[in-house]
């Protein structure tokens, strides 16, 4: 993991579009998508095992967190939030938004494979459009703003 820790890459490498930094961006993206998919799946699985219906009562939510799948889901989703912030440090917002939409594609496939959901033709078309759009955006240069003025 140390090779990924390019803390001073902006200063050291000069050009911000080096292939190493680009690879790191895709690695962080895939890590985010995996965490998000795992977190949502564990959360959904765990919440189905919790007998009480959720309401405005916060005690019910705290009780739901005692379920190990819900707890794992929350942990994964918190890590996913942090990973997305790391991704935003590497790439433009207008890059991150479309490429992370791949998550919808993963959700459709996970639902199809594990939950045996039927996927309508309209949803397959939508999935295809999201994937094509994300690939198109993924090939644009990821960071187009001027360098940070106060890199800490």
């Amino acid at each position: 993991m140390t090779s990924l820790n390019t803390r001073s890459s902006v200063v050291m490498e000069g050009p911000r579009h080096s292939s190493g930094a680009a690879l790191k961006t895709y690695f962080v993206l895939i890590f985010f998508l995996a965490l998000k998919a795992a977190g949502n799946s564990w959360m959904a699985w765990g919440m189905k095992q919790v007998p009480e219906r959720m309401s405005m009562n916060p005690a019910l939510y705290l009780h739901a967190m005692l379920n190990p799948f819900v707890a794992m889901g929350i942990a994964a989703l918190i890590l996913a939030l942090l990973t997305r912030m790391a991704l935003l440090s590497l790439a433009d917002l207008s890059f991150v938004l479309p490429v992370t939409a791949i998550g919808y594609v993963i959700a459709v496939f996970l639902g199809k494979i594990f939950l045996h959901e039927t996927v309508s033709r309209q949803r397959w078309l939508g999935t295809l459009l999201i994937f094509a759009g994300a690939v198109l955006v993924g090939t644009t240069s990821r960071n187009t703003t001027p360098p940070a003025e106060d890199p800490k």
């Binding site: 942090l82 912030m85 790391a86 433009d92 207008s94 939409a101 759009g133 198109l136 703003t145 800490k152």
Partner: protein
């Protein structure tokens, strides 16, 4: 009521992402190793706007949860994609990102796809 929730959700999402993008670019490139996460948490603790961004993220999450309690997902998901359009436009004019033809075309395809998947 449902439109108030949509407005709160979209506004909170847009504000959250603009703040996070702006602050994270200033904080410099981060990594996702154990050290990287520790440093990231330290960065968040030091930057008030970043904390505000995360708080907005929570507001948007709860607004979405409240919305799906009363409205079908086929309304909630396309409604939440309104933030996608607003954010891309604001990324250009507020964050000064260069959005070329290829990125704009890709973003439009993704938007159409999200509406189809949700609808």
């Amino acid at each position: 009521m449902k439109w108030i929730l949509v407005i709160v959700m979209v506004a909170a999402t847009v504000l959250s992402d603009l703040l996070q993008s702006h602050e994270m670019k200033r904080a410099g490139e981060q990594s996702v190793s154990a050290c990287g996460f520790a440093r990231l948490l330290h960065t968040i603790a030091q930057r008030r706007l970043l904390i505000l961004g995360v708080a907005c993220n929570a507001v948007s999450f709860f607004a979405f949860m409240a919305l799906v309690q009363t409205e079908p997902l086929s309304f909630a998901v396309p409604a939440s994609s309104a933030s996608f359009v607003l954010e891309t436009v604001l990324a250009k004019f507020v964050l000064h990102e260069r959005i070329g033809a290829r990125r704009a075309a890709g973003a439009l395809a993704v938007l159409a796809g999200v509406v189809l998947v949700g609808g």
